[in-house]
């Protein structure tokens, strides 16, 4: 199981890019952290989600 924003999902073996395609996230507006490390956008396609990963997706909204 992979934990995404606190929720356990059965997506081990998928890449981060493959998972994101199944969601409403806009890849240009997010930052993704896995096990305390940021995953830069250029690596979403090569990042394999593995059992026990803890992932946090921060989705930015506008305003400043």
């Amino acid at each position: 199981m992979v934990k995404i924003n606190g929720k356990s999902l059965d997506i081990a073996g998928k890449t981060l890019a493959e998972y994101l395609e199944t969601t409403d996230y806009d890849a240009k507006r997010i930052a993704v952290e896995r096990n305390e490390e940021i995953i830069p956008k250029s690596q979403y396609g090569q990042t394999l989600l593995t059992d026990g990963d803890s992932v946090e997706i921060v989705s930015f909204v506008g305003g400043g």
């Binding site: 507006r29 989705s59 506008g62 400043g64």
Partner: protein, 211 residues
Amino acid sequence: MIPTKEEMQKALRDRNGKDLQDKFFSATVAVCGLGGLGSNIAIALARAGIGKLILIDFDQVDITNLHRQQYKASQIGRYKTDALSENLSEIAPYVKIQTHTERMTENNAVALLRDADIICEAFDHPEAKAMLTDIVLDQMREKYLIAASGMAGLGNANNIKTRRITKQFYLCGDEISDVNDGIGLVSSRVMLCAAHQAHMVLRILADNFDT
């Protein structure tokens, strides 16, 4: 009569204690974007006696900024970097200020932020926020990033929070209230979020943050 540098430093050391105040004096903090968040963050940090501020913004002061950003009507048309430097120098004349009047991109971010210990993300657009987050946390791993998301509207003030994402990355705001929903940004709620960001800077410098 403006006090001398020694007088102002003594007043701050007397208030905060020498050990803590000297941590503030020796810190360099970058503020990326000088709108409602950035202008308020910079003023809070200058008052606290942060040694050096790096101010980055390409834009000029506009009449539509005055309802929430720390500029004066007389400063409309000036670059925000120049106008804010002027205002900061009246509040805290001995803070060192470095300005960059240019748009931050993936290509210049590392160079612009090289000297910073802590970086405050205070941009308007979500794409810019996400870009800066990736660059700082991937390419400048020794630095801290304090970003903001969700501070628009008249929602509850108490929903503005600081959340730890990693040891190097903190996120302030309610993470929901988009500037494009409803009435846009309101000065008081933007100031709350800016205050969270500035406060997190001081907590990191005080080494009092991972609890």
